[in-house]
């Protein structure tokens, strides 16, 4: 058996699939938490539909490298490879929209690049990029409405954008196994944020996105405080009743 290169290749592929799959799974679960408490019925449905798209991506990605249920429900906190942005609590509606704006713009750029390559994720990316375009569109429209809305909605949206800004540097840390130019992607993302936040009469946050004060070690398995509680809830049923089905 030829060993080292193949083993390394497998580990790289697994790491990349988990990074993408966990981002989708964890954000999907967060969005699902809105079910029953969204501000209006249309948003209830919209957030649940976005969550469903993400869950579909997660199922495909996790199934590439193992049993989807085992990976979702039986891993410990430190084994998850999602970015910390994805796990941030929903907060108020503005926080959820800011998280959606930051994440869906990133994911759209990433999937667009993966789709045009010939790597192992090209097929999924080509499919998902069209769905994510609707997620981004949804987030942009709400950013405009809240930012350029009432004094209170403007303040809340600005607060949310500021609070989550420090988690956005991590999105562009290179992931081994994803053959994309992360620096070019980051420039495109920043240009997009400058454009949309400007149109929404919001200020592009000035806090640090990289360096000592920035957050972001989710890809290495280090997560923020609320993440443990979130996966405890997510995994509870499966762990209490192993193998349960509907």
């Amino acid at each position: 058996m030829s060993s080292t290169p193949d083993t390394h290749e497998t580990a790289t592929f697994t790491g990349a699939a988990l990074a993408l799959g966990d981002d989708a799974l964890i954000l999907s679960h967060r969005l699902g938490e809105w079910a029953g408490s969204a501000p209006v019925l249309e948003e209830e449905v919209a957030l649940a539909n976005i969550a469903l798209d993400l869950l579909g991506q997660a199922r495909i990605l996790l199934s590439l490298v193992g049993d989807e249920d085992e990976l979702a429900y039986l891993r410990e906190e430190r084994s998850f490879r999602n970015v910390q942005l994805a796990e941030q609590p929903n907060g108020d509606f503005a926080h959820t929209i800011a998280r959606q704006l930051y994440f869906s713009t990133y994911q759209h750029l990433l999937y667009g690049r993966l789709a045009s390559g010939d790597g192992p994720f090209a097929g999924l990316a080509a499919k998902a990029v069209k769905e994510v375009a609707y997620h981004r569109d949804h987030a942009e429209h709400w950013t405009l409405r809240l930012g350029d809305g009432t004094t209170e909605s403007h303040e809340r949206m600005q607060r949310a954008c500021d609070a989550l800004w420090r988690y956005t540097g991590e999105l562009f840390q290179p992931v081994e196994g994803l053959d994309v130019d992360h620096a070019a992607m980051e420039s495109a993302w920043l240009a997009s944020m400058t454009d949309i936040l400007g149109k929404a009469t919001l200020t592009v946050p000035s806090g640090p996105r990289t360096g000592a004060w920035a957050a972001g070690a989710g890809r290495q398995g280090l997560h923020t405080e609320s993440f443990g509680r979130m996966i405890a809830e997510m995994q509870h049923l499966h762990r209490s009743h192993p193998g349960a089905t509907w």
């Binding site: 249309e42 976005i50 798209d53 579909g56 199922r59 097929g123 999924l124 499919k127 769905e131």
Partner: protein, 165 residues
């Protein structure tokens, strides 16, 4: 190009005639999600299906409906595999499918043409009830991920629009 045998064509017609579980006026063939039917051995058939949306929960119902239809036709061993590439597009819905959608009360998706080709004119979305083109968007996501919720400003009826994908 793989040529189908007469048997495969017949089985393909049977699988393609299965109705979509969410939009039961449309067959899977009209929806454009059936990618292939292959006889892999005596009494053994593999059907390739592509999802409309990555997370579409209807895929499981479609798979078991296809299995049932082929079992009833005397094929004992049916497996349905999901394929992602090339990605499904609303352009894969047939003309007949579009007509049936409108009749069912769902505004059909507008044609998009091949990616990178000439930009098509943006056509107005027509109310499936009264035919007016004077309609407004209420929500980008409706009863399922593939639909948006709109309202007709002429007859005031809300309706679903199958979003372009």
């Amino acid at each position: 190009m793989v040529t189908m045998t007469a048997l495969e064509e017949e089985l393909s017609r049977i699988a393609g005639a299965v109705l979509d579980p969410e939009l039961p006026v449309l067959t899977l063939a009209e929806l454009g999600v059936l990618r292939g039917v292959q006889v892999t051995g005596p009494g053994r058939v593999e059907v390739s299906l592509t999802p409309t949306y990555t997370g579409c929960p209807a895929v499981e119902a479609m798979s078991s409906d296809i299995e049932r239809a082929l079992h009833e036709h005397g094929v004992p061993d049916v497996s349905v595999v999901t394929v992602l590439a090339p990605a499904w597009s609303t352009d894969d819905i047939s003309e007949e499918g579009r007509r049936k959608l409108a009749e069912f009360g769902v505004a059909p998706p507008r044609p998009q043409g091949p990616a990178g080709g000439p930009v098509p004119l943006t056509l107005a979305i027509r109310c499936p009830h009264c035919g007016s083109t004077d309609t407004e968007l209420l929500s980008r996501f409706s009863s399922t991920a593939c639909k948006a919720l709109r309202r007709c400003t002429a007859c005031r009826e809300p309706f679903d629009h199958f979003k372009e994908l």
